[in-house]
Symmetry: C2
Subunit: 325 residues, 2 copies
């Protein structure tokens, strides 16, 4: 089987590819080829015996999507995207990659006669916009308050129509905030949710810009990869026409996050968190969803961590080789 990953050099793309290599296959079929595409060159995955095509360039550029699917890959994980902050600052770039890139890929598939791949798309809970009910149900409307959320919601609608028409077998996965995000601190407004765990565990200080009472829903990178793999196993019959699904996650407050860190790594590690309120970040975060009642995803067998302790432990295992600084 031939698997394409777009955004393959990104955080989730790399972890997904590594997991597929480790599993050796998908849905019981061995993988003999990967096509890994990104604007940044993706790395050749370690330990894979099959063929790997690294395609470096803008997947939204004219002709790029057609090339990606020319060999009729069996499964496409479409992860390439411009993140929230950048899509808000650069209107054209956000629409170019997040909307036109997705549409170009869907169009290339539609025009390839007799071809209908499995297509897994990473959407986001940014498709929702405040004000929210106590918990967001599966049938809550999409009123995004960012261009990124708008682009994800539009991509979901396109995917559902192309799926309904039979051009592909699609699933849209609305990822919650991925925590603990590995790597360097970044400027995303949501960065602190990961920073307050990752940095103290690595021996560094972390800034907490919001109140302890802020509540949010999280899933680990490992859980996110699990969602994408599980999505690839679902049939049209199981999914029905509503193929865009909110994912489960761990809903907790910042105080509960810090409690987990303290329990697992000790108070001297948790003491590396410095409270430094930031009005702007507080305002942005106040518009985000707190609780998501992902009932359909649960029924369909999607699984996240059960509590924030598990999320901290997954990070220590997957990123720190089990060791705390």
């Amino acid at each position: 089987m031939h698997v394409v990953v777009t955004g393959a050099a990104g955080m989730i793309g790399r972890k997904l590819t590594a997991r597929l290599v480790k599993d050796g296959g998908l849905n019981g079929k061995p993988i003999d080829k990967f096509t890994l595409t990104d604007v940044v060159a993706a790395e050749k995955p370690a330990g894979f015996g099959g063929k790997v095509d690294i395609v470096t360039g803008d997947m939204a550029a004219p002709g790029a999507a057609e090339k990606l699917i020319a060999e009729r890959p069996d499964v496409i994980f479409h992860l390439a995207g411009v993140v929230s902050g950048e899509a808000e600052i650069d209107f054209d770039k956000g629409y170019h990659v997040n909307l036109d890139g997705t549409r170009a890929l869907l169009e290339a598939i539609r025009h390839a006669e007799g071809y209908h791949p499995k297509f897994i798309f990473t959407s986001s809970i940014a498709v929702y916009g405040a004000p929210f009910p106590h918990a967001i149900p599966d049938d809550f409307h999409l009123t995004p308050l960012t261009s990124y959320g708008t682009q994800k919601a539009i991509s979901e609608l396109l995917l559902a129509d192309y799926n309904r028409r039979g051009f592909l077998d699609g699933v849209g996965i609305r990822l919650p905030t991925i925590c603990v995000r590995p790597g360097k601190p970044n400027k995303a407004a949501s960065g602190f949710f990961s920073g307050i765990i990752r940095e103290p565990l690595a021996g560094h200080e972390a800034i907490l810009p919001v109140a302890d009472t802020v509540r949010h829903t999280h899933a680990s990178p490992r859980a996110a990869v699990g969602f994408l793999l599980h999505a690839a196993t679902l049939t049209r019959e199981q999914l029905g026409p509503r193929i865009n699904l909110a994912m489960p996650g761990v809903c907790c407050t910042v105080a509960e996050q810090i409690d987990s860190l303290t329990r697992i790594a000790g108070p001297q590690v948790a003491a590396r968190i410095k409270r430094q309120p930031d009005e702007l970040i507080m305002r942005i975060v106040s518009g985000w969803s707190e609780r998501i009642d992902a009932r359909r995803a649960a029924e369909l067998g999607f699984k996240a961590e059960k509590n924030f302790d598990e999320i901290v432990k997954a990070h220590i295992e997957d990123e720190l080789g089990g060791k705390i600084a």
Copy 2:
């Protein structure tokens, strides 16, 4: 004030233009110019003393949108669209007009520096898809089951993002089925809702392809024009960020429609309805929404008819000069 109407040769476009001419202005300001555009040549409205530009052509063609807004019209009523049945049969045409046409117009406005017109868009209840709750609330999700509904939902999302960014003052109006639609019977699956009133009143037979118990929500063409004019009066402050609004209407069964016709025009007129069940139409209609709980629209002052008798009377007054055949 300069008003643009796209889809101006269409049913609602013609009625909207005639009403604006009759009113002489909009929001208390006189109208001195109309730009009326459609693929079919729009007629010059009778009794208008100001300037009229008739622009005939595809508004989604490259450069067309820029030309339409070159003089910076104050208000744009964007009604041009390929209808449901055609968008389902001709995938490319539907996306070209209903999605790319709308986006081209929004993009032209965004690129015109310092310009932010009032922009009223005709969406549709086709943005919803079965299964439905007893009544569809304002915060129900959009899971369209047609390409037309998908294109309308995407246009709504774009409009909301362009509005949020301040490029324009937008409102999206989700019209219910417009009944009684004047003119010749057409092949729309929804055609019979109007046909069973219009044809008997004109002395002709009409086919009823579904059961008497089928329930649906209707508004007259007069009410639809009223919605668009009322939308043009609403401010950003009144609307808030959720600018796409389900409209009110008269919710009734086919039996209740026929009762109204009998009450107003007599049993000999209602006897012109022939029952001829059509499996295909029954199946299509069973996927449509029955009741819409348009609470926000009611709060914002949108008004439809109170009962189906008023809808029949509006048709007799507006289309038949008060006379029944």
